[in-house]
């Protein structure tokens, strides 16, 4: 805050300066407020991805892949992120120095057209919305835990779909898709899902 020294002896000079001062202060406040609002929006988005990243990391512990999915006991678990850079970033933070069942976790950012095979988990962000169903189709039958955050992605064949309900991040589980991919999902995860859909699409 700039300190304005008011040394003007004249009364009308003083008033004018005061007025300017007030307007300036008001403008600053407004700017800050709007900036904060934007930041908040940006912050909330980031916070959401942080939660989703944390959830994704936790999902891994509740899912069993078929034995062929891993070459040996400590080969890494690969998580592919498509269409959500901030998610990838949050995931990296969450996953750093952590293991699941003794396996290290590797985050891979995927571009359009990158191979899905070799991934254990695939997160398809809604930035890549129109491509979601394509990607899901190509992942059908593979032992990949597909996690989406679009409205009807579950019907499209993803195993887990994030939803935000009452400002809380929740998720739905599509069991049929899990079965098609030979993935076994722990009943405990099912218990905390908002919705469990059984039949395959």
């Amino acid at each position: 805050m700039a300190l304005l020294n008011m040394h003007q002896p004249q009364a009308w000079n003083r008033r004018k300066t005061l007025h300017t001062l007030l307007v300036g202060v008001f403008a600053i406040i407004l700017a800050l407020a709007s900036a904060r609002h934007c930041r908040a929006e940006a912050d909330s988005a980031a916070a959401e991805y942080q939660v989703k990243a944390a959830f994704l990391y936790k999902f891994v512990g509740y899912v069993d892949w078929p034995p062929r999915a891993f070459s040996n006991a400590d080969s890494p678990l690969v998580i592919g992120v498509m269409g959500a850079d901030s998610m990838a970033e949050s995931l990296r933070q969450v996953v750093a120095n952590r293991t699941v069942n003794g396996r290290p976790l590797v985050i891979r950012r995927l571009r359009r057209g990158d191979q899905i095979a070799g991934l254990h988990v695939l997160f398809i962000g809604h930035a890549d919305g129109d491509r979601t169903s394509e990607t899901l189709a190509s992942a059908k039958g593979l032992s990949v835990l597909t996690v989406t955050e679009s409205e009807d992605a579950l019907a499209g064949g993803s195993v887990i779909n994030f939803v935000v309900v009452d400002d809380k991040v929740r998720f739905d589980i599509g069991l049929g898709s899990a079965e098609r991919g030979n993935l076994k999902i722990s009943a405990r995860l099912l218990a905390v899902a908002r919705k469990v859909v059984n039949s395959p699409s």
């Binding site: 939660v51 959830f55 936790k58 512990g61 509740y62 952590r98 293991t99 699941v100 069942n101 809380k168 991040v169 929740r170 998720f171 405990r188 995860l189 218990a191 905390v192």
Partner: protein
């Protein structure tokens, strides 16, 4: 069986058994109760801790995915365990995610979760357990369950009390029976012992009822009784023999006493007889002597008449014969006088009075001197000798003794006569000593016999009656007289007069020296 435990032995035994039973009961019950309570505590804590683990594990997904509804639903399952009164789940930041309580109005939950642990607080068990999944702390489980240790303890105390009462009653009944096994033999011995003492019947024996230390006691007791019986018999026997001995002795004593009495009587009789006889003899002697004087006087008269009237006509032989007749008549007259004296001494009452022996002796000596003035005899008479005696008789005795001493020292160069006394043990012994020719002590017993003469008449005249008379006088005084002499050295005549018969042996004999 439940008669009267009058004997303190029975009571003691019973008390000992009951106390032992009580102590062992109490120890056993305490041990069991303590073990049970410990086990209860351990198992209950384990149970609730496990329960917390289960709740934690089940709720982990709800915590992981921030699903409070599921968390609450999980806690609601605790309704199937009514012992769990309250539960809560805290997330990793310490905030309450879900609550559960059997009391719907309950709101007393800890604000922040504590570290893992189990503790007991105001009768409830409180457990905090962290929920860890995949190496990460998701949150904390809080359980509050009932803890019944104290109520268990009280119920056990109640049960124990009843058990103790019942067991003690059973123990009482049992030991009341069983203690008889031990006490019966002992008491039996006690009864026998008392009876033996009271009735003095040592033939009783105690019954040996068992084969243990009490049996040994019974045997020893019986042996002792046997010994006592035997000894008593021996003592009684010896008592009996002693008694018979004593009766025997007493009888003998009585016999002796009786015989003594008989003797006494006989002696008395004899003495009386003897005295009577003596008196007769005395009288006879006196009268005969007296009667002899008359004819003697006649003989002497007629001799004298013959000499005076017919003297010129009698030839010389006849004159000689007449002279011989004169001396014989004189001698006979002297003899008769002496005999009469002797008799007189024996008759008449003894008048004992205080007599100065020294004075009497001096008188007798002066008479002797008067009759025989040419003789120079050294006489020493002790002074102050006072005696209790008959004056007349004592004088006669002194006349005899001193006359003898005078007579027998006639041939001695420097004659010496002494009259004195010795005292020993309060008794006085008087003596008359001379340094004449003495006599042979071998004839001492003949000294005082009448007519006994130890010297020829030619040497020393005398009738031989004098000493007999002195002895008679001394004996009448109740005294004793004896003599001691050495041939050629002299003689001492000792005598006592009356009470305190001085024992002659005890008196020293002084050396008689010329």
């Amino acid at each position: 069986m439940m008669r009267v435990f009058s004997s303190t032995l029975q009571r003691k035994l019973l008390a000992a058994t009951l106390v032992t039973t009580l102590v062992s009961l109490v120890i056993a019950l305490c041990a069991m109760v303590a073990y049970d309570l410990h086990t209860y505590h351990e198992s209950w804590v384990s149970d609730i801790a496990t329960q917390a683990d289960l709740v934690g594990h089940t709720t982990a997904p709800a915590l992981a995915f921030d699903d409070t509804r599921v968390a609450r639903e999980n806690l609601e399952l605790l309704r199937y365990r009514p012992q769990v009164r309250a539960a809560a789940i805290y997330n990793a930041r310490g905030g309450v995610v879900a609550r559960y309580s059997t009391d719907p109005k309950e709101a007393d939950f800890p604000k922040l979760p504590e570290a893992d642990g189990v503790r007991v607080e105001s009768g409830e068990l409180i457990v905090f357990k962290r929920i860890v999944e995949n190496g990460e702390i998701l949150g904390t489980v809080y359980l509050r369950a009932e803890y019944e240790l104290v109520s268990r303890l009280w119920s056990y105390a109640g049960i124990s009390l009843m058990v103790v009462i019942v067991a003690m009653a059973a123990a009482f009944l049992m030991s009341a029976r069983l203690q008889r096994i031990v006490t019966h033999p002992i008491l039996a011995i006690g009864v026998i012992a008392r009876e033996v003492v009271q009735q003095r019947d040592y033939s009783r024996r105690a019954e040996k009822m068992s084969d243990d230390e009490v049996g040994t006691l019974a045997d020893a007791f019986n042996d002792m009784l046997g010994e006592i019986e035997h000894r008593t018999q021996v003592i009684e026997q010896s008592n009996r023999s002693l008694e018979s001995e004593i009766t025997e002795r007493r009888r003998n004593e009585e016999e002796v006493v009786r015989l003594n009495q008989e003797l006494e009587t006989r002696v008395r009789d004899r003495t009386v007889q003897l005295e009577a006889a003596n008196q007769e003899l005395e009288a006879f002697c006196f009268s005969v002597s007296h009667d002899l004087r008359a004819p003697l006087r006649a003989i002497d008269g007629y001799r004298q008449a013959l000499v005076e009237d017919c003297g010129e006509n009698i030839p010389e032989d006849g004159q000689l014969y007449l002279k011989r007749i004169e001396s014989s008549v004189q001698r006979m007259g002297q003899l008769i006088e002496d005999l009469l004296n002797l008799s007189r001494v024996s008759r008449g009452a003894l008048e004992k009075g205080d007599v100065d022996l020294s004075e009497l002796a001096r008188q007798v000596i002066s008479d002797l001197k008067q009759r025989d003035p040419e003789r120079a005899v050294d006489v020493s008479i002790w002074d102050g000798m006072m005696v209790k005696a008959d004056r007349r008789l004592l004088r006669a005795a002194l006349e005899n003794l001193l006359g003898n001493a005078w007579k027998f020292t006639s041939k001695t160069e420097s004659p010496h006569i002494e009259v004195g006394m010795l005292s020993a043990n309060g008794n006085a012994t008087y003596f008359v000593r001379d340094n004449g020719p003495g006599f042979d002590m071998a004839y001492a017993d003949k000294l005082f016999g009448a007519f006994q003469r130890l010297h020829a008449a030619a040497d020393f005249p005398g009738t031989g009656i004098g000493l007999a008379t002195v002895q008679r006088i001394v004996h009448r005084h109740g005294g004793r007289i004896w003599a001691d002499a050495k041939v050629g050295k002299g003689a001492i005549f000792y005598f006592t007069l009356g009470d305190g018969d001085a024992v002659a042996q005890g008196l020293p004999h002084s050396e008689v020296s010329a």
